[in-house]
Symmetry: C3
Subunit: 273 residues, 3 copies
């Protein structure tokens, strides 16, 4: 795993350029600041391709429209030319043709380094190309201790086909490239009950990739563990009468205070393949 | 009134498709998740008409523009064809011609099931068609125990003219269809001091309508009582030095924990007509 | 300085029309409500020029695009015709040509009353016109007790060139017109670690200018002191385990409770020139 990832992230404060949805954009910006990155959320075609400097590009399909798709291409090509990593979060990709076509086109036209979604989104991506290396895409659903091996094999096969690191969140998170797969068991059930927990996680993945561009798989695993751990810390901090509204703020609190010693003690990461 | 509305809402977890403003969209999504619904906030014309499944469509004019008006029509027609209810929150309808024309057109062209706003917005809607059944629209303003009967008569008359359930929030909330009207006395003065309290209430109305499409009036009354009660709970939970920032989170906290027993004990609903 | 600024602001509740970014718009609206103003966030060209009544227009370049630039012009001209003040926050102006060109055009074409940004944004504005009255723009960077005089001279010179009140935030804030300059020493280091602290501050500046349109310089100084003081109050209120997520809510809490006596006791304002 990575050495002192939080310290390195905060020292580098890499730029993470987000073209993302307007529902959770504020939470994503605050979570990026909390983990140590420097967020920029510009999505106008007039300027999306002109942000200079190192970092990572984070594309999120949450409320995509024609204008932001144009901006994703302009920013994507600019980042590709400069050799910077790109993360894709295909929010709701199975819900409409527009999202599916956009996700397919972005994966075809840009050198995406990592794709991150929930199980049903990743399954929809897999289904769009037929069977994945002989593994049924339903292997992504509700991963348990019994099915973790099958889910990991699915993720490796999909990673090989898409040419990116593949990961999906759930009760057990799966993160894989073509040759290795990890399971992360951090997190709490309240996380999907707030909007943006997935979008914020993708932001943290982008931040850690930006700080470790040669270790995309390890950076992604670390982000899942860090975010899940922040969920656990936030859950433990809830007082009588506090629910999802306070939980959201406490997740950002926890990330803004998270250090490497805490992360090392708390992460529950297993190499599966 | 409805039987076990919160339990039913959480069991069904109906889709609420929101085409809403970018100011309060995050709060609306979190409030919808807190009450048990499944929010989708897509507003691109490319996909607004293609969300499948049951549920309710929630149209909010808060930051409308040409593109989102197109999306409202596409989604509205798709929902109308499938017999799904549509809720309209005509935010700021009296402030500009663009809003007034859009509200009038949506009410004319789509089978809106319920219109919900604050008193001045509902009054502006009423004024656009001349006098309402002999009742002065100023009856909607600052409803008190003395004026509640007149306000209820106004709401019934407007409901008859628009062909929708009509409701408006204030110190006393009024909810009516053509033949019946209710007053709800839940809520606290701090609610309108945060942005989005009306938008969130409309979200909860849409969620309860989605779960009770045959009882739009009762679902709307229940939503007002639930939201007002959450305001009361949030107010009581405020500690020394806490103001509107914490109040916002605590309202969502309260909704995420609200159950039917609590709602039944706390609601202050009166049948007026 | 202003007499009873918070009381006057809350009594007048002036309209502040914001055409701003979608990242922090909710925080800006809540901060405006907390300080006593009446926010309107409409940014559609169809209606941006038609909001009536007194108040202040707040233009923020955070996520500008072609459509919102059109709206800024329409609203700007309508406000100029009615003699209402306009505040410009040139977010990220040094980052892309699109932002620089937009900022330059708005400053040329509209009677901007005040420009407010962080030091690097104000420096970028200054650099676009060559040297400022013999003062190096780097005087704006990281103002300390040693450099405060030079920074104030720079701000006065830039104010004279742009014909607006100029201010920038930092460890020491500088606020100036052509003939006078103030330093404000309120605030804490956690403020720039949340997104929107600058945007919210600009909102409070706009609110106080709206309530004191004849005293733009004094209103701006007061806003910096009030916002910095709210940061100090929020910092002091943080409990064990609370970080940037809770800090954001507590800043809004503090503003919603701030009164003139507290502001007078807590403000640290120095006349420099």
């Amino acid at each position: 795993m990575l050495q002192h990832p939080m310290e390195r992230l905060r020292r580098q404060a890499p730029l993470v350029h987000c073209i993302t949805n307007y529902v959770t954009v504020n939470d994503v910006a605050n979570m990026l600041l909390a983990c140590g990155a420097s967020p920029v959320m510009a999505d106008a075609p007039e300027e999306a391709g002109t942000f200079s400097g190192s970092g990572c590009l984070y594309l999120n399909l949450g409320t995509l429209n024609r204008r932001t798709v144009d901006a994703m291409y302009l920013a994507g090509r600019a980042n590709a030319e400069r050799g910077r990593p790109i993360l894709l979060d295909p929010v709701g990709v199975g819900a409409t043709d527009f999202r599916m076509q956009t996700a397919r086109a972005l994966l075809r036209d840009l050198p995406i380094a990592a794709v991150r979604g929930n199980a049903s989104e990743i399954r929809a991506l897999a289904d769009m190309g037929g069977q994945v290396g002989g593994v049924d895409a339903s292997a992504a659903d509700a991963v348990t201790d019994e099915t973790v091996g099958r889910a990991a094999a699915f993720a490796c096969a999909l990673s090989a086909r898409l040419g990116t690191v593949v990961s999906f969140s759930g009760p057990i998170d799966i993160i894989a490239d073509r040759g290795a797969a990890y399971a992360v068991r951090n997190g709490v059930a309240r996380m999907p009950r707030i909007t943006g927990s997935g979008c914020m996680l993708s932001g943290v993945v982008a931040a850690l990739i930006a700080a470790h561009p040669e270790q995309v798989l390890e950076a992604t695993v670390t982000a899942y563990a860090a975010m899940g751990l922040c969920g656990e810390i936030a859950e433990a901090a809830l007082r009588e009468g506090e629910g999802t509204g306070s939980f959201r703020a406490r997740m950002i609190d926890a990330m803004s205070l998270l250090d490497d010693a805490q992360l090392e003690r708390g992460r529950r990461v297993q190499r599966v393949i």
